[in-house]
């Protein structure tokens, strides 16, 4: 509660400042919240302020970052993708099963990426051409992907491939003795690519235009259908990449991996200031949203006495605060 009162009060003041467009405010609020949470942890717990704790936020949430990036694209067009968690599980399962069958690692990676993107394209086509609700189509996609996991196998399959193992154990040392994994590099590269695509390409602007008003975008002659399908394809691709990162992180494939991860991804995107009605939001906000979730998890593990289900309650509460804040913010800037 203490964290929101200052941000709420700054909303009207800041929006009068020249140079800071009102749309950036939620992202700034998320950033302030992140700093406050991290600061609170530093004050309360010894050893919280180390660079490694900060780096671990990225290491433990690399797959969620990638997932949130893909989800941002879809939510910006005004849609939603509930299938991503299941696609992550399917990717780990396909990767593990294909590696066990003796396929070389590059082929497996391409296969997984193709499956994820294919599913995304398929859902996008159905959503666009049959004018069905994204919610229900991706829900079916979620059931489909989860079910396919169990068609491949009901048991967990461990990954013994040397390339995946090397990726999992390989580290990069940054100045200051901070160690990160290759997953972090991949995740951040994807964030950078997404920022470039959204803000520097015609495709990115079309995404914002569709989210602002689909019929206006159509009347302007923008390729609405193609871009919408592409947004779901990107989300599927990101989910596949996240699945690969997750299989590197867990070194196993299992149909019950990543249950409910789509909700974490949606929560990160919302906490990052993206409006669910579409058209407003930033990838960097989603990154900050993931980091906020990560900090909460770290705080709870540092506390030690709190059980893991407090994480769920905390995420729910934060989600609520940010939605209410979005609401107030929308009313102030008509």
């Amino acid at each position: 509660m203490t964290t929101t009162t200052p941000t709420k009060r700054t909303v009207p003041a800041l929006s009068r400042l020249p140079g800071i467009p009102g749309r950036v405010l939620p992202v700034i609020a998320t950033f302030v919240l992140f700093v406050l949470l991290f600061g609170a942890g530093s004050v309360r717990y010894e050893g919280f302020t180390s660079g490694q704790v900060f780096a671990n936020l990225f290491i433990d949430n690399a797959f969620l970052i990638v997932l949130a990036v893909g989800m941002t694209f879809v939510i910006l067009t005004g849609g939603i993708d509930l299938s991503v968690g299941a696609v992550v599980a399917l990717s780990t399962m396909v990767a593990a099963a294909a590696l066990r069958a003796g396929l070389p690692a590059p082929v497996v990676i391409l296969l997984v990426l193709a499956i994820g993107t294919g599913l995304g394209v398929l859902m996008g086509l159905v959503i666009h051409h049959f004018e069905l609700q994204p919610f229900i189509v991706t829900l079916a996609g979620m059931f489909m992907a989860r079910g396919l996991c169990f068609v491949i196998g009901v048991e967990s399959i461990s990954i013994k491939d040397p390339f995946f193992r090397a990726l999992a154990t390989g580290t990069i040392e940054l100045p200051g003795g901070v160690v990160i994994t290759w997953s972090v590099v991949i995740a951040l590269a994807i964030v950078a690519a997404a920022v470039w695509v959204l803000h520097r390409t015609r495709f990115g602007r079309t995404i914002y235009a569709i989210g602002g008003s689909e019929s206006s975008a159509t009347l302007m002659g923008l390729p609405v259908g193609r871009v919408k399908v592409a947004a779901y394809a990107i989300s599927g691709l990101c989910a596949a990449v996240a699945g690969l990162l997750f299989s590197v992180y867990m070194l196993s494939g299992y149909g019950l991996h990543a249950v409910g991860m789509e909700l974490d991804a949606i929560a990160s995107v919302v906490i990052g200031g993206t409006l669910l009605s579409g058209g407003v939001g930033y990838v960097l906000g989603s990154l900050l949203g993931v980091l906020v979730l990560g900090v909460i998890q770290t705080l709870i593990s540092f506390q030690g006495t709190l059980s893991s289900w407090w994480t769920k309650i905390a995420i729910g509460t934060l989600l609520l605060l940010f939605i209410v804040m979005q609401r107030l913010f929308m009313r102030r800037t008509p």
Partner: protein
């Protein structure tokens, strides 16, 4: 049971031709027929100790929680909303009841069970009020407003049970989910709720009001309806239904499992509603469709079990059914069907597009008011106004 349904389906076929109930009924009958063909004992029902036994009775018994939740969900969806939190609410209801029973002085007495049930339903009422408050007063999108409780709710349930699976031994409580009164008590409760809702919404103007709120909340308010109160009420009702369903689930196994009780049941319920022909865009709903939808979902699950396929694979079948039914209901596909039928039979005076009004009373009073084009336009107008 199934013969009655088949005969009913055949009789109604003429009336519902072109209506939204046709395909779901066909699917249900086909599923049951496939089961009967594969396993001749599937249709047999026997009476023993005053109980009915048989696969069909099992479908009814296990489908009761889904049906009850889908019932609440139907009304929520009719107001253009959605309630994702029902699974979590069901888990909370089971958790509260079981902890109360275990904590009471005499854990086997009916009084303990009644106290627990009362507490659980009161809490569900509060949770429903909360959802309704977020949606109707704060004006938050329903998906996201209920997502809050969906995420936090399971945490709350875990908090109540302290992360344990709580088992109870209470005969009175056990009756709700596992008891029989010739038929399973759970399905009797669910059907009673269904009939009550049907009477209240279809014999009074309430159903019409709910649909008009779903079509356009602002216009309904200007027309003098209390849109907010109506929206608030349907969320409270959905939470209460979820609470009772949670009681059934936990009473059936005499235990409360905060983690897995009612997991994915919100999805099942939404599927049941969609299969039944209610539009996710709000504005029209079909209670009989929801009943058929819930039965399809449960029959599908039972079919997969009895075919000896791993139960988890049910999800693939559910996905296929959902996609098939959604495609059949999609306005674009129906449009194509109509065009083809018209071109084949140009002399027919009653084109299928008008036969919708001949369908049972559940069909929308204003079938054309909700074409996707108009919907998209009004949505985009709102968005323009917002930005």
């Amino acid at each position: 049971m199934s013969t009655v349904q088949t005969a009913g389906a055949a009789g109604v076929l003429e009336r519902v031709r072109g209506s939204r109930l046709l395909w779901p009924l066909v699917a249900l009958v086909a599923l049951i027929a496939a089961n009967a063909a594969r396993n001749p004992g599937f249709l047999s029902i026997r009476l023993q100790d005053g109980h009915l036994y048989g696969s069909l009775v099992d479908i009814l018994k296990n489908g009761a929680p889904t049906l009850l939740i889908a019932l609440g969900m139907t009304l929520v969806i009719a107001t253009r909303g959605i309630d994702l939190s029902v699974g979590a609410v069901a888990a909370i209801a089971g958790a509260v009841t079981c902890t109360t029973i275990v904590g009471s002085s005499d854990p086997t007495s009916p009084a303990a069970a009644l106290t627990g049930i009362g507490l659980a339903l009161a809490l569900c009422l509060v949770l429903g009020l909360w959802n309704g408050f977020l949606v109707s007063l704060l004006g938050i999108q329903p998906i996201i407003a209920t997502l809050v409780l969906m995420t936090a709710g399971r945490g709350i349930a875990m908090l109540i049970t302290d992360g344990q699976i709580i088992t109870v031994r209470n005969d009175f409580y056990r009756e709700i989910g596992a008891g029989f009164l010739l038929f399973p008590i759970s399905i009797l409760i669910a059907l009673a709720a269904l009939v009550a809702v049907a009477l209240v919404t279809r014999r009074t103007a309430l159903g019409l009001l709910i649909e008009s709120v779903g079509i356009n909340p602002e216009a309904s308010r200007l027309a003098g309806l209390r849109s907010r109160t109506i929206i608030w009420t349907v969320y409270v009702f959905a939470a209460l239904c979820a609470g009772v369903a949670g009681l059934m689930i936990s009473s059936n196994v005499s235990a409360a499992d905060a983690n897995s009780a009612g997991l994915w049941i919100e999805m099942d319920a939404i599927l049941a509603v969609v299969i039944g022909g209610s539009s996710l865009a709000g504005g029209k709903y079909s209670l009989s469709g929801t009943l058929v939808g819930a039965l399809i979902i449960q029959t599908l699950t039972t079919t997969v079990y009895s075919m000896g396929i791993a139960p988890e694979v049910t999800l693939v079948f559910k996905a296929l059914v959902v996609i098939a039914v959604c495609l059949l209901q999609a306005p674009k596909v129906r449009e194509r069907f109509r065009r083809r039928r018209r071109s084949q039979d140009p002399t027919s005076p009653s084109s299928p597009s008008t036969s919708g009004s001949l369908a049972p009373e559940e069909d929308s009073p204003a079938p054309t008011a909700h074409e996707p084009a108009g919907d998209a336009a009004s949505d985009s107008k709102q968005k323009v106004a917002q930005s």
